[in-house]
């Protein structure tokens, strides 16, 4: 092989760019970028979509420099367990640093998707002012902003196609924010305001919808009464996805049939969500929310919804006493038998058996996501009184494409042995109240070759498996451990050994000595470890220590 042969010179840059555009995954583009300097340069210039799974994994300015032509960015902030109040509210995840860097370096940015971040009104105003061709704003599980910030977006983003607000905490201080969309604004395709608690001016909404002929997705909040919903639907017969707020159909049951015919007028409607008493059964609803379902209901769903792909069953009364609700393993088994296209399940219940899980595993080898939450910790198989190791093992052994798994119930280290050995596609694992000791964690960290996110609470896992598998942690996005048996000494060792990890120790109690002076055997309440090229972050609150 003669040195100096320049591959890149075979074709003009534009041809290589076109070739790279067929690479589906960023990992492939990364690999191409390593071939030679020319390919690195060409690939760099033509990457226009970036995904930052952890906002602290890289400095915003570095990301902007690395890929200067980005048009679409997605960034995630807080760890997943923040959803369940396990992460202190001032932990971090602020969006300012990113928005400022992007405003500076990506003025042509069109799409921004943020998840679990703290987004201020200032951020929204900056977005509204700086990105002239801004098209998509998606905020999921975020907080820190108000409807005043939304008013700025409405007023300035002339080409906005998508405003997706999903499960955010939004302060309602600007009642007429929607009026800030100018009359000339007609580009909306997706509007999701389901999480807004305040009233929405339905006249303004009607006019907005009426002048946006491309509107496909509309998800409203509770403040739109049924009568007005009918009017909205008449103005948007082209809708594909409709979500209503959580209004009670029983208020005006006589109007319900009017609503049903209005919905029938939307010939393209494929998806319906909201608080429905009796959803129209002629729609092939891909995702629909039903209220108060039990085993019998699930059996009915299994018999009729043959196209069902994703099922989520939440507890109606998570904190109440175990009431006589008949939602058991039978419902899950029925669904698994009746719905061949099912690939994603989130199921809360109070009882389970290994036998049921074995049946589910046999019926559904195509699961990509299986999250089972048995509400009472340490619950065994209620018939055999055995741990549920066999059941979950069957799931991971049968579902070869499983990417996400949440465990619950009484579990020993054996289940982790199976997971470590069989779950080759697993990317995210959630564990609570499970395992016997260090071996459990060791099985996971030494197996699961595609593991990216591991979150653990209330398990008897200690220092040794972390220290023995330190290198593994650098191949993952993050590890969360709370109420386990990890000591400060192990965290210090880990931090010293692995400079590319941020080892964050979270101690909310603030009593006694500061963490630097605590002895090695001091137990760690909460631990968050993530790989990063940015070094320790500078916005830690007082309850978070980053060990070096």
């Amino acid at each position: 092989m003669v040195g100096g042969f320049r591959w890149a010179a075979m074709f003009p840059d534009e041809v290589w760019e076109h070739v790279f555009s067929f690479l589906p995954a960023d990992a492939d583009r990364n690999a191409a970028a390593l071939v030679c300097r020319a390919w690195y340069r060409i690939e760099q210039r033509s990457r226009w979509r970036v995904f930052v799974g952890n906002c602290y994994a890289v400095e915003p300015a570095a990301a902007v420099r690395r890929f200067p032509e980005v048009r679409a960015a997605a960034i995630k902030g807080k760890p997943h367990f923040a959803d369940f109040n396990l992460v202190p509210s001032d932990w971090g995840g602020g969006a300012e640093a990113w928005v400022e860097a992007m405003a500076e370096g990506w003025p042509h940015l069109e799409e921004l998707r943020l998840k679990r971040m703290v987004v201020s009104d200032d951020c929204l105003e900056l977005i509204a002012r700086c990105f002239k061709n801004f098209k998509v704003l998606s905020l999921v599980s975020c907080e820190g902003f108000s409807t005043a910030g939304l008013a700025a977006i409405a007023a300035n983003c002339r080409n906005l196609r998508e405003l997706n607000l999903h499960e955010n905490e939004v302060e309602d201080n600007c009642l007429h924010w929607m009026s800030h969309f100018p009359e000339s604004f007609t580009s909306l395709v997706t509007l999701n305001i389901a999480c807004l608690e305040g009233e929405v001016n339905v006249y303004v909404l009607e006019r907005l919808i009426g002048r946006c002929p491309n509107l496909k997705t509309l998800r409203l909040n509770h403040s739109v009464p049924i009568q007005r919903l009918v009017g909205l639907l008449h103005r948007a017969p082209q809708l594909v996805d409709l979500g209503t707020g959580k209004f009670a159909a029983q208020h005006h049951p006589e109007l319900f049939s009017t609503l049903e015919s209005a919905i029938a007028g939307c010939k393209n409607l494929k998806s319906l969500s909201g608080f429905w008493e009796a959803g129209p059964t002629y729609l092939p609803a891909i995702y629909s929310v039903m209220d108060l379902i039990e085993d019998d209901g699930l059996i009915a769903v299994a018999a009729s919804c043959k196209l069902l792909q994703e099922l989520r069953v939440f507890p109606s009364d998570p904190y109440g006493a175990a009431q006589p609700i008949s939602l058991t393993e039978h419902g899950l088994v029925a669904i698994s038998a009746g719905c061949p296209m099912l690939h994603s399940v989130l199921y809360f219940c109070r009882q389970m058996t290994n036998s049921a899980l074995l049946t589910v595993a046999k019926n559904c080898p195509n699961f990509t996501c299986f999250r089972l939450c048995i509400m009472e910790p340490h619950t065994p198989d209620y018939i055999t009184r055995q741990p549920l190791d066999a059941g979950f093992s069957a799931i991971v052994e049968s579902c070869k494409h499983l990417r996400r798994l949440s465990l619950s119930g009484l579990l020993t280290d054996l289940v982790f042995k199976s997971i470590g050995a069989s779950a080759n596609c697993l990317e995210m694992l959630s564990v609570a109240f499970a395992g016997d000791g260090d071996a459990g964690l060791h099985y996971i960290l030494s197996g699961c070759k595609n593991l990216r996110k591991l979150e653990i609470r209330d398990c008897p896992f200690g220092d040794q498996p972390l220290l023995d598998n330190a290198a593994k942690l650098e191949t993952m996005r993050s590890l969360w451990m709370s109420s386990c048996s990890v000591t400060l000494g192990a965290c210090r060792q880990l931090a010293r050994k692995m400079p590319l990890l941020n080892v964050e120790v979270i101690n909310e109690r603030k009593r006694g000595l500061p963490l630097e002076l605590q002895p090695d055997n001091c137990p760690v309440e909460k631990l968050y470890i993530y790989r990063t090229v940015a070094g320790p972050r500078s916005d830690t609150p007082s309850c978070v220590w980053i060990l070096r």
């Binding site: 367990f81 959803d83 369940f84 109040n85 396990l86 599980s141 499960e167 905490e169 999480c195 509770h222 959580k246 009670a248 159909a249 029983q250 208020h251 049951p253 006589e254 319900f256 008493e277 009796a278 039903m290 209220d291 108060l292 379902i293 039990e294 019998d296 209901g297 059996i299 009915a300 939440f314 109606s316 998570p318 904190y319 109440g320 006493a321 175990a322 006589p324 809360f348 939450c373 509400m375 009472e376 910790p377 340490h378 949440s406 959630s430 609570a432 016997d436 609470r457 209330d458 398990c459 008897p460 109420s483 048996s485 909310e508 109690r509 009593r511 055997n521 001091c522 137990p523 309440e525």
Partner: protein
């Protein structure tokens, strides 16, 4: 047993147990038996805070920050793993809803009715009539009067709805069945 003071509603039997790994958690509230109702139910008044004041932190005790659920009994933080946001949205808005589950014989999917939105049995029956599929009986559409609505009272007996004055019944009804 030493005197234990706690803040909880009468009848919440949750024994305050800080979890040690592997140990069984306190069992969920069970329904009060008759003798508890009549007898000497102790009223716990004290919420046991984290015992870090004692200074012992070398044990493997998991110290959970306690929070109260709606009925005042203790829960683990963040368990079950349901988003705060979803919990809030289940409150049927900010007012306290008095939701009751209704099943009809032969219909798989039950309905939920908010009793607070109705001021009389007539209103309730009208709503129920709208919610459930109409039964064809001799070719004519049935009206609300056709249904027999029953509820299960504290003793587990099925009683006909309508016997007790509406105001009183709203407080008691937990579970209804329509035939």
């Amino acid at each position: 047993m030493e005197l234990e003071l706690g803040l909880a509603l009468p009848g919440s039997d949750r024994t305050p147990e800080l979890g040690v790994h592997g140990e069984k958690r306190a069992s969920l509230c069970r329904k009060r038996g008759v003798d508890e109702m009549l007898g000497k139910a102790t009223l716990p008044l004290f919420i046991r805070k984290d015992n870090d004041e004692d200074g012992d932190d070398d044990s493997r005790q998991s110290k959970h920050l306690q929070e109260l659920n709606f009925s005042g009994s203790r829960v683990l933080v963040g368990w079950p793993p349901v988003k705060m946001w979803r919990r809030k949205s289940d409150d049927c808005g900010r007012r306290r809803a008095n939701c009751v589950k209704v099943n009809m014989e032969g219909v798989a999917i039950g309905r939920k009715v908010d009793l607070c939105l109705h001021d009389s049995y007539q209103a309730l029956f009208l709503t129920l009539g709208q919610m459930f599929p109409k039964k064809q009986h001799d070719g004519e559409e049935s009206d609300a009067a056709y249904y027999k609505v029953t509820y299960e009272d504290e003793d587990g007996d099925w009683m006909l709805v309508g016997d007790v004055p509406w105001e009183l019944s709203v407080l008691k009804h937990k579970h209804k069945k329509a035939k």
